[in-house]
């Protein structure tokens, strides 16, 4: 123990102190373990989740902004001149950009020949290098002549050598995949030579250009919005048709991991504060209970500094053990959460950086040392003679008025005595109240998080309101395509919607239904294909939760998520142009909804939108709500008998659970339990100290005839009277924390959580949570109360 500066004598004193207070030592280990686990996870995920993207972005000189321009309103020369716009540090382009739907023209393990694939954003670039968006070749080579194409990594499941045909392009050319490349911000789905890009553009089609920019200030959404505005101002009005920010891409790629950070940070802060409180209580209690021992140590020659070091050491050793365990647990828990982050960039699996493993425990130990130092200094300052002679029974005087009042209440005397006890030691009672409040606030926060996650889990998928789905077969390929469809089974005929409608209406037990068709089209402002879900019939009863605006109530309207709005740089009320094989139609965004289907990037509209694009608008799927009390098995059997002749099939609607939310739930549950356990142990510790301080009085009361049950009642009452108000006061804190953290979780994944998913606290629940503090207090007090009940009266009477 020479580290403590006192040689072996001091070391023995420290070890003896730790050994003598096993419960307190366990509390200190557990509290630091919990705090360090949550803090390592929160800070580790925050840093580690972004590291692979940031590394790749720096290496590729990624584009801060990918902008699309209408070639009918701005010339290539004008666009090239935007590189000189104020704030722009580098630019690339203009590149010709177009949306094309390919069809496989060769066979591979993944795809047969003749399969219609989603539309691609194809960009004409002479090479992948450049000052901005240095596209990295993963395999193969860059396109150097017409007939060659490079596809984006993690886009199409094709390899060099595969052939793709573009039926809607002039001459329906077939091109050979010569390379697979990666753009960190996904500036295109495929690249061809500039000449090939021009040749692929249909005659009469308005040209679209892509420009890639890096800016001097691009760290925040606001800065990028200003940069975008500067670019928009540098070109003719209306020329800038869409843009994508690297922040949005980074957010999408790290969303699942970043969603953990806000609540883990909250638990980390709660844990650290509770650690400081509990360690302060423990060391303060140890000093208070060992006043005489300190006097003896000093009389034996211990200096004040050695006494201080001995008490700080008694806190630091268990805290160091808790930190080490928390470090291991935090890193282990991070593994599944960070599992996919590194792989997305072909790097090693991401892990928590070493510096976080060093800094977080060091900070926790510094906090612990600080918390222990205050009472330890008090111990160091104690005068030797006073320390030896002073007992530990609280001095009379405090709380007398309350005792007098409680003695007159029409309550059993044990209850009256218990009610008065907290007022005799207000400082200790305040620490008990703080421990209870931390626990109750944590429970409130944790329960709220679990309810929010539950609401998100159940509301995140589209069509989850129906109990039955009817698959009508077929896919949503454009008219005239081969009989093989990407969206459906090969050659699957599509059921006649009228026949399906009729069967559903005729089926006893059907309450209401609607149909959906799906397609992939190009949407202005979005790189790559956008999934469109088109509704036929009234789907308002099954609409996703709205964040703002309203649900679809007519043609030409669309509903999208916050993530889509950010990605496209638009807002509710704006218009999105949808393009399919040269045909265009516009939809107005009438609502912002919350759902995670299709990574939250699907566009919801009416089937009339698909028809306007020349796409098959027949529903491939129906969602059905049955009447209350309907036997689902019988319903399905009967309905399938009617649907079989028309080529459709009904089945129960099952929604998959999100592994991310399940992991979050597990973490929330574990951290809540750990924090509540620490809070309960903090209460236990103060009650142990208090009961030991009062052991002589307890002996007197037992000698006067206080029964064990009455002793227990007295101790439990003394804590309950603190726990009830502390718990009730903590509930609003927990609710406020939940209201602060849950929107941040949504923001971390680029989503706005619907108000009902955040407003999860109802009056009965709040009342129950209000009793949480009481429960924590009583649970924490039961052990010392039992000890008080069993305490031998004769030895209690002999106590100082």
């Amino acid at each position: 123990m020479s580290a403590l500066g006192g040689g072996s004598a001091l070391g023995r004193v420290v070890r003896a102190g730790i050994g003598r207070r096993r419960v307190q030592t366990a509390v200190m280990v557990l509290t630091t373990l919990m705090a360090v686990t949550a803090s390592v996870l929160a800070t580790g995920l925050l840093v580690a989740a972004r590291a692979p993207f940031d590394h790749a972005f720096a290496e590729q000189h990624g584009a801060h902004l990918t902008a699309r321009f209408d070639g009918t309103k701005v010339t290539a020369t004008q666009l090239a001149a935007t590189a000189s716009t104020s704030g722009v540090t580098a630019a690339a382009g203009p590149f010709r950009s177009l949306s094309l739907r390919p069809r496989t023209a060769s066979r591979s393990d993944a795809l047969p020949s003749g399969v219609d694939l989603p539309p691609l954003t194809v960009v004409g670039r002479a090479d992948g290098a450049g000052r901005v968006d240095g596209v990295t070749l993963v395999t193969g080579s860059w396109a150097t002549r017409p007939g060659q194409i490079v596809v984006a990594y993690s886009g199409l499941p094709v390899q060099p050598g595969a052939r793709l045909r573009f039926p809607a392009a002039p001459g329906s050319p077939t091109m050979t995949v010569v390379g697979v490349a990666r753009s960190v911000t996904g500036t295109a789905d495929a690249w061809v030579t500039p000449a090939q890009a021009g040749a692929l553009t249909a005659k009469g089609s308005p040209p679209t250009y892509e420009m890639l920019y890096r800016f001097r200030h691009a760290g925040t959404d606001a800065q990028l919005a200003a940069d975008r505005a500067a670019i928009a101002a540098a070109v003719p009005r209306g020329a800038l048709t869409g843009s994508g920010s690297y922040l949005t891409v980074r957010q999408q790629q790290t969303a699942n991991t970043m969603a953990f950070v806000p609540f883990l940070a909250a638990f980390g802060v709660l844990g650290l504060l509770l650690s400081v409180l509990v360690i302060g209580i423990v060391v303060s209690g140890a000093v208070g209970a060992a006043t005489r021992r300190i006097g003896i140590l000093k009389s034996l020659g211990f200096t004040p500094a050695q006494v201080v070091r001995s008490y700080v050491g008694q806190a630091l050793i268990p805290a160091a053990a808790g930190c080490a365990l928390g470090l291991v647990l935090g890193n282990l828990l991070a593994l599944p959460v960070l599992g996919d982050v590194g792989r997305a960039f072909d790097g090693p699996s991401a892990s928590i950086p070493v510096w976080i493993d060093a800094v977080v425990p060091a900070a926790a130990l510094a906090l612990v040392a600080g918390a222990a130092l205050v009472p330890a200094l008090r111990a160091g300052r104690l005068r030797t003679v006073e320390a030896i002679t002073v007992g530990r029974t609280p001095g009379a005087g405090r709380g007398r008025l309350v005792r007098r009042l409680t003695g007159r209440l029409p309550l059993p005397r044990a209850v009256g005595l218990g009610l008065g006890n907290p007022f005799a030691r207000p400082a200790r009672s305040a620490t008990t109240a703080a421990a209870v409040a931390f626990g109750a606030a944590t429970v409130t926060f944790g329960v709220g998080l679990a309810l929010t996650l539950g609401a998100v889990q159940s509301g995140r998928m589209l069509d989850s309101a129906g109990s039955v789905v009817v698959e009508a077969g077929g896919g949503q390929a454009p008219p005239g395509a081969e009989a093989v469809h990407a969206g459906g089974g090969p050659g699957a005929p599509q059921a006649d919607p009228a026949a399906v409608d009729a069967a559903l209406r005729a089926q006893h037990g059907t309450r209401r239904f609607y149909g959906t068709a799906q397609a992939q089209v190009d949407a202005s402002g979005i790189t790559g294909a956008t999934d469109v879900v088109a509704y036929r019939g009234d789907a308002s009863w099954a609409a996703p939760q709205m964040v703002s605006g309203r649900w679809l109530d007519g043609p030409g309207q669309a509903v999208v998520t916050t993530r889509f709005l950010h990605a496209a740089g638009i807002r509710v009320g704006d218009t999105v142009t949808l393009t399919e094989q040269g045909r265009k139609t516009s939809v107005r965004i009438v609502g912002e909804a919350f759902f995670t289907a299709g990574q939250g990037m699907e566009l919801l509209t009416r089937t009339s939108t698909l028809a306007a694009l020349g796409l098959d608008a027949k529903p491939g799927r129906y969602t059905v709500q049955t009447r209350p009390g309907t036997d689902l098995t019988r319903y399905l059997t009967s309905l399938n008998a009617a649907l079989d002749p028309v080529g459709a099939m009904a089945q129960a609607n099952t929604t998959e659970t999100s592994d991310v939310i399940v992991t979050m739930d597990a973490l929330v549950g574990m951290l809540t339990l750990m924090l509540v356990a620490v809070a309960g142990l903090g209460v236990l510790n103060t009650v142990v100290l208090d009961t030991r301080d009062r052991v002589h009085d307890l002996g007197v009361l037992k000698a006067l005839g206080m029964a064990p049950r009455q002793a227990m009642t007295m101790v439990v009452t003394s804590v309950a009277v603190i726990g009830l108000p502390a718990g009730a006061a903590a509930v609003p804190v927990g609710v406020a924390l939940h209201r602060y953290i849950t929107p941040l979780m949504g923001k971390a994944v680029g989503m706005t959580l619907p108000t009902p998913d955040i407003a999860v606290y109802h009056a009965p629940l709040l009342a129950l949570l209000g009793l949480g503090g009481l429960l924590i207090a009583i649970t924490g007090a039961l052990l010392p109360a039992g000890w008080a009940a069993r305490k031998d009266t004769a030895s209690a009477l002999r106590s100082e």
């Binding site: 002996g699 006067l704 005839g705 206080m706 029964a707 064990p708 004769a794």
Partner: protein
Amino acid sequence: MAATEPVIEIREVTRTYGEGPPALADVTLSVRAGEAVAVLGPSGSGKSTLLNLVAGLDRPTAGGVTVDGVRVDGLSEAGSARYRRAKVGMVFQFFNLLDDLTVTDNVLLPAQLAGLPRAEARRRAAGLLEHLRVDRHAGAYPGTLSGGERQRVAVARALMNRPALLLADEPTGALDTASGEDVRKLLAELNAEGQTIILVTHDRVLAESCTTRTVELVDGRIVRDTEHATAVAR
């Protein structure tokens, strides 16, 4: 209860702690109702152990203790508590009053723990404080009283539930001479009123002045058991 009936029957009681010599060894003692018995002996002779066994605060390793018809050594913790409420009043060397309760509240405690109706308890406490001449301190806190007054309050508290037996452990040990004399007289008066008393003390003068019988313990064994007249009687 007839005057000659034993209120305490201690039969062949042995109490050992761990591997050491017995604190009490094969002690047999009988105390009649109305007697005032002083237990004398040097430190470590077993006086406090004997008192604890009679009070139900400790259990014998062997033998039996019966007080006022209750077999004390077989009681559970809760049973012991009920027994002390009903049968025993205790007075300690250092008073053991609760400093944050007033004199009245201290005296009320045994009755409140026993569930005596509030009005009856208050009436009884007032009567006792008056009888023991500390009624003017009823609303005061023990810390403001002299040692003798505090011990009077402690005696009032001990008598609150009208116990069959008053156990006093060195009741004058922490008092000055005048206060000690005051307490001695009080005990003698109580005994004269019929209260059975067991008094544990080092002080032979106190023992002989306020008790009717002296039992001497040495190394856990009774070495002498003599009856005598009290100072009051004398």
